[in-house]
């Protein structure tokens, strides 16, 4: 058995276990967050290094574990993104964990386990592994959300997350069971082959009756069993990416969860959700199913974009605002998924999805890094309490501004290029989807309104005369480093997007 491909996962797993064991040996009376974070960061860095080293070393991925684990190039990309996200989350969390959480060991261990679930999720190639990795990610997220035990909101968020999560994973499983019944297999590749070969059996044919005019249905309707499977699976995954109407948990969970956990959910969980959605849809794509799921995704995309952006305008709580913003971003990414359905726009769509998810992680975590510091400074996550913070901390304020503008999709930040690829892919599908692009573009303008509100509060407002000069309050090194990495990332990816393009082109050649 070839264990080299799974080595990064093994390292992350060992890290998670190592951290919890290390926690036992450390004196609980002394501050131990730093040591635990260091150990965890070391493990994650090692895993990321291994992953990249294997890739650059020319290691060719092979299916292992009887087809359960397929670390193809897409998976390599997303695993790198996920490990990066985990590292950034780790960096920005240290201060918060030290101040607010009583269980640093459990926090870091669970964070690593959740990351591990996400890693397995993006490279799973059969339904059982897929489901189990999803649950590993989900259940550890539930616990992470509940981890701030002194806060009632934390528990409330956790229970809401848990209920919604369990129901939607049950829906998805029901869909899985139907697919299993239809195809007789759990393996993604076999399911895809089956649908290609016998997909036409799942369509109601309307044959012309003599003497009557020909029926209007050329391709017919999908039979209910396949349709139900598709709807249920998409519903379950729609929850993971917080697409409307499966978004109900998101605002409350974002608000109630500890801030680093919110950051983690908004980055890692979303990346894992989209990577897995791409893989599932690729599995379920055959001539008969593609038109159906395309229609569904279009509806989800439009609803998410419009709803997320419009409701975000009214938010006063930064965490809630980011929840709605993340819903809207799910909508933009779903537009890319729509463009996956056609051959001519497929390359562009893949590029858009890969690029945007990478950039999304950077800009979101950059924003959260600054927000965690500001929240600690002002002891609040309400927008009006942040007045003038940008003036006190011009550098962090600048990073936050850059991330917000990138989220809006303004040049010269990478978010702009990402949106360009996504919208471009949809444009390539032809003029029948131009209205979708128009909605996307116009709602980006709407999003500027609420992002600009944050910027306005940070910079335009009157500085409260707290008498503290910027120099005496330097943010923690790691947090500053995380925000710096994000900033460099979103600027650098704008100027040098080529390596991502080349990488995705490589993926396409393999497909």
């Amino acid at each position: 058995m070839d264990l080299l491909g799974i080595l990064p996962e093994i390292l992350v797993c060992l890290t998670a276990l190592g951290v919890i064991v290390l926690d036992l040996f450390l004196d609980p009376a002394k501050p131990r967050t730093g040591k635990l974070a260091f150990a965890n960061g070391l493990g994650l860095t090692l895993a990321l290094g291994t992953l990249l080293g294997l890739h650059w070393g020319g290691y060719a991925s092979v299916e292992t574990f009887s087809g359960a684990f397929l670390p193809d190039l897409t998976a390599v990309f997303f695993r790198a993104v996920l490990l990066l996200a985990a590292l950034l989350t780790l960096m920005l969390s240290v201060g918060y964990v030290q101040d607010k959480l009583r269980h640093p060991g459990e926090f870091y261990s669970l964070m690593s386990l959740a990351t591990l679930g996400a890693l397995f999720l993006v490279s799973a190639s059969e339904m059982l592994t897929f489901y189990l990795s999803l649950e590993l990610l989900s259940i550890s997220s539930f616990v992470l959300v509940a981890l701030r035990k002194t806060q009632a909101r934390s528990a409330e968020a956790a229970i809401k997350y848990l209920i919604f999560g369990s129901i939607s994973s049950a829906l998805m499983l029901f869909g899985f069971s139907l697919i299993y019944g239809l195809s007789g297999s759990l393996n993604f590749a076999e399911i895809n082959t089956f649908l290609h070969q016998q997909g036409s059996e799942f369509v109601y044919r309307f044959t012309a009756v003599e003497g009557q005019s020909a029926p209007a249905f050329q391709d017919g309707h999908l039979k209910i069993e396949l349709m139900a499977a598709l709807v249920l699976i998409l519903g379950g995954l729609g929850y993971k990416i917080a697409a409307v109407p499966f978004h109900l948990w998101a605002p409350d969970v974002y608000e109630g969860a500890p801030l680093p956990v919110t950051a983690f959910l908004s980055a890692s969980s979303k990346v894992a959700g989209f990577a897995s959605l791409m893989r599932i849809l690729e599995t379920l794509s055959a001539d008969v199913t593609v038109p159906f799921w395309t229609r569904m995704i279009v509806i989800l995309a439009v609803l998410s974009i419009v709803y997320g952006n419009v409701v975000a305008i009214a938010q006063q709580n930064i965490k809630r605002l980011f929840a709605y913003s993340s819903i809207a971003h799910a909508g933009y990414l779903l537009m890319g998924i729509v463009a996956l359905s056609e051959f001519k726009s497929r390359d562009m769509a893949l590029l858009g999805l890969h690029y945007y998810l990478l950039v999304y992680v950077l800009m979101n975590l950059g924003a959260f890094a600054v927000m965690i510091y500001f929240a600690a400074k002002s002891q609040s996550v309400r927008l009006q309490d942040w007045t003038g913070l940008g003036r006190q901390h011009p550098w962090l304020g600048f990073v936050l501004t850059a991330c917000l503008l990138s989220l809006t999709g303004l040049p010269p930040f990478a978010g702009f290029l990402g949106k360009f690829y996504l919208f471009g892919a949809v444009t390539m599908m032809g003029s029948q989807y131009l209205w979708l692009v128009l909605i996307g573009v116009l709602s980006s303008v709407v999003s500027l309104y609420y992002y600009a509100r944050i910027i306005r509060v940070l910079f335009f407002g009157q500085t409260e005369s707290s008498g503290s000069s910027p120099s005496e309050q330097t943010p923690p090194v790691l947090l500053a480093l995380a925000s710096g990495i994000s900033l460099v990332g979103i600027l650098g990816l704008f100027v040098f997007p080529n390596w991502v393009i080349d990488f995705v082109a490589q993926i396409n050649q393999l497909i």
Binding site: F423, G424, T427, L442, F460, N498
Partner: protein, 488 residues
Amino acid sequence: MALFKSNRAHFYHWLAAFWSGLTLILSLVLLSRYDLNAAGNAFQFVDRLPWMPQFNLQYQVGVDGLSLPMVLLTSLIVCIAVFVSWQTQERSRLYFAMLLIMETGVLGVFTSLDLFLFFVMWELELIPMYFLIGIWGGPRREYAAIKFILYTLLASTLMFMCFLAIYFLSPLQTFDVITLLQNQNNLLAGMGRPLQIALFLSLFICFAVKLPVVPLHTWLPDAHVEAPTAISVILAGVLLKMGAYGMLRFNLGFFPDMMYWMAVALAVLGMINILYGALLALAQTDMKRVIAYSSVSHMGFVLLGLAAFNPIGLNGAILQMFTHGTITALLFIFVGVVYDRTHTRDLAQLGGLSQRMPLAAGLFVITALAAVGAPGMSGFVSEFLIFTGTYGNSLEGLNHFLIQGATIASALGIILAAAYTLWLVRRVFFGPMAERWQELSDINSTELVTVTVLMILVFVLGIYPALLVDYINPASEHLLSWLPKVGG
């Protein structure tokens, strides 16, 4: 071409002055080395660098007779704006950084020869503007800033859509402006007529917001009033030109036949702009608002010149862009001078200031004359060219007369302009003076230098317009050569 390397200047006024001065010198060098004898259609100093070769995307810049005056204007006005804002103390580092980033953006707009780069630069100019208005602006700055950015961004989304469609739906699959302009005939091949019209109109609306054309102009007075002086100078002097530039470069360049088809509409829009702006200017009590609306009026002349579809009118329009840039900059500088001393722009409170600041009053009178379009100054030349052009416009039949009618109606705008400008002069500098203005000082040397430089330019162009028209004319002839029926 090193014009773009000027952003992110780090500290203080001198550094900003140095960079913007350097940019000005460089653009003058550019002017002197520009080859007048080359054919009008060629872009010169083209510089290209692959950016995303997979998408035929590159960093490509260059200038022609249309963009060269604009580059010159931009670097001049920004340099002047730096001196105008010499007094800015509060967070000057950020202020000048923003100013220079904006200059980068605007220069990029005028020189980029790649649609994608053009769009990036177009947006790049927005963000600093938002901060400049929002942080250093007047009492209602937040409202003005967000209104400005939302208007412009909404408009530019239309442009973005249009560029996407041009790239992905046309057979050319490129953002390269030079290639696109050379192949404009099959640029739109394979697209239905409604889509073509939609593309054209979305581009037009985008630039119309920036110009601004009348129903879309409401952001302008707010932004002008709330912005600090130097920013008003840039806003009126440079940013409005971006709209006109876009219209000439892209609407006329990519869709010449549709532009031609819209000629009458253009003339009428221009006329409305001129008259409506002038009438509203008459009704204002805020100095800045008067000038803001006069900008609307003056930019109407650009539209009108465009509608002539002959080189004379087009030369006039481009020249008008330049002269309006200089003259409005002058006007705003004077508003700034007055406001710095009196801390009010309310015409009801001002008056008789010439007793305390005679030099400023004298100079302001000259500027006002220039704004009105008195002979001997550049405003006169450009407006004269526009009127001659449009009166002898190259359309046929009824349209010909319709445009002539619009021209005559617009001539009324000149009278109105005289009315509101002279009225402004009278209300501010003459008449009885309130007691509290006794302590005012006259215009200082920094201000005097900036004003003089601009004023010399106004006179020079007024007396010897060929200085610029020589550059402009080949470009405008080339632009018109694509038209289906016009013989140039």
